[in-house]
């Protein structure tokens, strides 16, 4: 069952082997070069060598996880290899990943397809199907439930104010709205809703979906958006305000899949249509949230009840080891790439002029792109998609600036008398650089590499958003499930790792910076 999973990460394992094997007494630089070229090779080639399992994606909320698990198990029951990339992001990331081939299947809702993806509000199912197929995507019949948007409130608060419908909100401008960022931006979200109902609350905050429930229960916000099959509605004792003007479109759950999918796989997916009603979905969601075991919840759908699942039995130590290893792979490979590319760029930039300014300008601009946006921009590009590769490239781009800038300034700061003495000795430009200028700039260059390393360790937590794993995995699922302990399981090791890296580089300073410069 796991064969597919292992082959997908084969590049990393091969890279691992090479690092271990090269721990002999050869010089650091030749090891680094060997490690890099080898890992790059494996990394690029592994996706082409192995037959891929069906990759199922999910958005970062419980129902999406559960539906994806159901799809996975349904495929596996038909003897088709499948892999689930949990919680990869929002609609755009999943949609682009599906179109780009990064994933083969994911659960979606008809309303989102019409409003967000195809920008054809009110289109019929047949029209949607046609428009999708033009993009190489097919759609199953609906799974049997409508998970539309809804506005929810605490029961006591709504009873106290006598609120039953969304129209009732109009007279209560003092209520605080805490809405998800996606809902705030959606074409069928807050803006048209507030226009339709003529709502003008005094405060509208953007807040993460899971955190919003906590804020709602503490009374920090009064109204939030929710999905109508959300398990939290029952758990927190919330009431759904009636959509009396029938604003929200239908959000029937379906699976979207690439129409290149082999027919046994598409049959297995289509067999799931009309098999889950709202009550059943709420129950599955609720169980998944309680146990944090989506696979088990999905198995319950197939009528399998069990106590010990192999996923639960993975010890914390093993999970931590897996997260940390992957985290270090992501940060390490991207850092090495940043060094290999950044050092020469820094040397060129140190000469100033138009080229130098351009290099520093471009690397500087990359740094200002928010890391989430950079990930979202890379995902739809060919060759990238939802993968560790994309995360590594994003981290590499982030790590570039400190190395380029510190190399350039380190070289520029070499005093003129030393520069001229090197010239007067009759050394060629390459000899001067290698024997004199780079060692003289070593302190500054290493400081840049250290900065990049620490940045990469921190930013690598975001890699989990696109299914690349690492310590961001527990942080993101913790955020989605509003579970602080899980968040800390990722956050604390990530912070310790950053400190450790800092410490490691402080030691490295003593080895790599010539003693004469440390006097």
């Amino acid at each position: 069952m796991n064969a597919g999973k292992e082959s997908r990460s084969g590049g990393f394992q091969a890279a691992d082997l090479i690092t271990r094997r090269s721990g002999d007494r050869r010089s650091f630089s030749s090891n680094a070069a060997l490690f890099l070229s080898a890992s790059a090779f494996f990394f690029l080639s592994n996706t082409f060598i192995y037959a891929d399992p069906v990759i199922i994606g999910s958005k970062k909320f419980t129902e999406s996880y559960v539906l994806a698990e159901i799809a996975k198990q349904s495929l596996e029951r038909a003897d088709i290899k499948a892999e689930h990339r949990q919680g990869m992001g929002g609609t755009i990331i999943l949609w682009e990943a599906l179109r780009g081939g990064g994933i083969d299947v994911y659960p979606e809702y008809t309303g989102t397809i019409a409003e967000e993806m195809l920008k054809r509000p009110g289109a019929s199912i047949a029209q949607l199907r046609n428009a999708l197929s033009a993009q190489g995507i097919a759609m199953t019949d609906d799974l049997g439930f409508n998970n539309t948007y809804a506005l929810v409130m605490r029961r006591d608060r709504s009873e106290q104010l006598g609120l039953k419908t969304i129209s009732d909100l109009r007279t209560h401008r003092e209520l605080k709205f805490g809405l998800t960022h996606e809902f705030l931006e959606r074409r069928d979200g807050w803006r048209p809703l507030s226009e339709r109902y003529q709502l003008a609350p005094s405060q509208v905050l953007g807040i993460d979906h899971a955190l919003g429930y906590a804020a709602l229960s503490k009374g920090e916000i009064d109204v939030k958006d929710a999905y109508s099959t959300d398990a939290k509605i029952g758990d927190y004792g919330l009431v759904t305000l009636i959509d009396d003007l029938h604003f929200f479109p239908q959000y029937k759950a379906v699976f979207l899949y690439r129409n290149t999918l082999a027919s046994p796989a598409s049959h297995a997916l289509n067999d799931l249509s009309n098999s889950i009603d709202e009550t059943r979905m709420i129950r599955l969601n609720s169980q998944a949230e309680r146990t944090k075991n989506y696979a088990a919840a999905a198995r319950q759908f197939f009528g399998v009840t069990e106590n010990a699942s192999p996923f639960v039995s993975e010890t914390f130590r093993n999970k931590l080891l897996r997260w940390v290893t992957r985290h270090l792979e992501l940060a390490g490979i991207s850092l090495l790439l940043a060094i290999i590319v950044g050092l020469p760029l820094g040397i060129i930039a140190s000469r100033g002029g138009a080229v130098g300014h351009t290099i520093l300008g471009i690397t500087g601009v990359i740094q200002t792109i928010p890391s989430l946006a950079l990930l979202a921009l890379l995902v739809p590009l060919p060759f990238f998609g939802i993968s560790a590769r994309t995360a590594i490239v994003a981290l590499f781009l982030y790590g570039l600036l400190p190395i380029v800038r510190n190399t350039a300034t380190g070289l520029q700061d070499i005093p003129r008398p030393l520069r001229e003495s090197a010239i007067a000795l009759g050394l060629t430009a390459a000899q001067r650089l290698r024997k004199i200028f780079l060692p003289l700039a070593s302190r500054s260059i290493l400081a840049g590499i250290k900065t990049s390393a620490v940045i990469n360790i921190g930013t690598a937590t975001l890699a989990a958003l696109i299914g690349a794993g690492g310590l961001g995995e527990p942080i993101i699922s913790g955020l989605n499930l509003n579970d602080h302990v899980t968040i800390l399981e990722g956050a604390i090791p990530a912070a310790l790792l950053a400190l450790l890296v800092q410490f490691f580089f402080d030691l490295l300073d003593r080895v790599l910076i010539p003693r004469g410069l440390r006097l």
């Binding site: 030393l418 009759g426 050394l427 024997k435 004199i436 003289l440 070593s442 004469g516 410069l517």
Partner: protein, 247 residues
């Protein structure tokens, strides 16, 4: 005709200002030529032109019959030794590695290098035991001795000294001046020395060229300059250098 270096009508502009203006100069083989003059008179620029750190705007400079140009400068640099005020030693290398850097790049044999360092330590009175120290661990005088050794490693035909003792305290300076004179006499070294100190020029120089505002205003011995100054500047420069107090 026997001169090692020829300057013919050399001018050099920095922006709109002349650093050098129609300079004609010969550096005679086996002699110490001292360039002297106030700050900014262009004396250092003459050395920098020979090393190829700057390029002349007009005129011609020949080294041993060969014109100094981008195509020839790399070869010519190997025949020069260059010492600057702070020594220009590389702080990341020990004294020894500062010395061996150039001969190793030029693939000299190891035993030859060792022998040469032995010779130079004796010649410059530099203690062998201090060779493993980094520049920052050496005194100012020791640094200049290492710098001189580095310049002499490949037995250069021309030694260029740019105010080599200016940053040293007087006692150390006098010792080094005395030792330098002895070394040059023993090696019959051709030297072009830049200084603003008339006693130093008088003590070391076989010939003095006094410069002002990018021109060579008078050549000869100190006695010549004092006895027959060609203009008011020469007279003032010579008398100013006697100092305020007659000790």
């Amino acid at each position: 005709m026997n001169a090692l270096v020829h300057f013919r009508d050399v001018s050099k502009l920095f922006g709109n200002d002349f650093a050098l203006r129609d300079v004609n100069l010969e550096v005679e083989r086996g002699k110490i030529t001292a360039l002297i003059g106030p700050s900014g008179c262009g004396k250092s620029t003459i050395l920098r032109l020979i090393v190829g750190l700057v390029v002349a705007d007009t005129g011609e400079i020949q080294f041993d019959g060969e014109q100094i140009a981008p195509g020839t400068i790399m070869k010519i640099r190997r025949r020069l030794g260059y010492v600057i005020q702070d020594g220009g030693l590389f702080p990341h290398l020990t004294a020894l590695h500062n010395l061996t850097l150039q001969p190793r790049v030029f693939r000299k044999r190891r035993d030859e290098i060792e022998k040469r360092i032995e010779e130079l330590c004796q010649l410059t009175k530099f203690p062998n035991s201090a060779l493993d120290r980094y520049p920052l661990e050496l005194s100012g005088g020791q640094r200049q001795r290492v710098s001189l050794m580095r310049a002499l490693m490949l037995s250069p035909e021309l030694l260029l000294l740019d105010e080599p003792f200016a940053a040293l305290d007087p006692l150390v300076r006098v010792n080094l001046q005395r030792d330098l004179k002895e070394i040059c006499a023993r090696l019959q070294q051709t030297v072009l020395l830049v200084t603003h100190d008339l006693p130093e020029a008088a003590f070391l120089g076989d010939e003095i060229a006094l410069m002002n505002e990018g021109r060579i205003v008078q050549r000869g011995s100190v006695a010549d300059l004092r006895a027959k100054p060609t203009n008011e500047f020469v007279r003032e420069f010579i008398s100013a250098q006697r100092g305020l107090v007659q000790l």
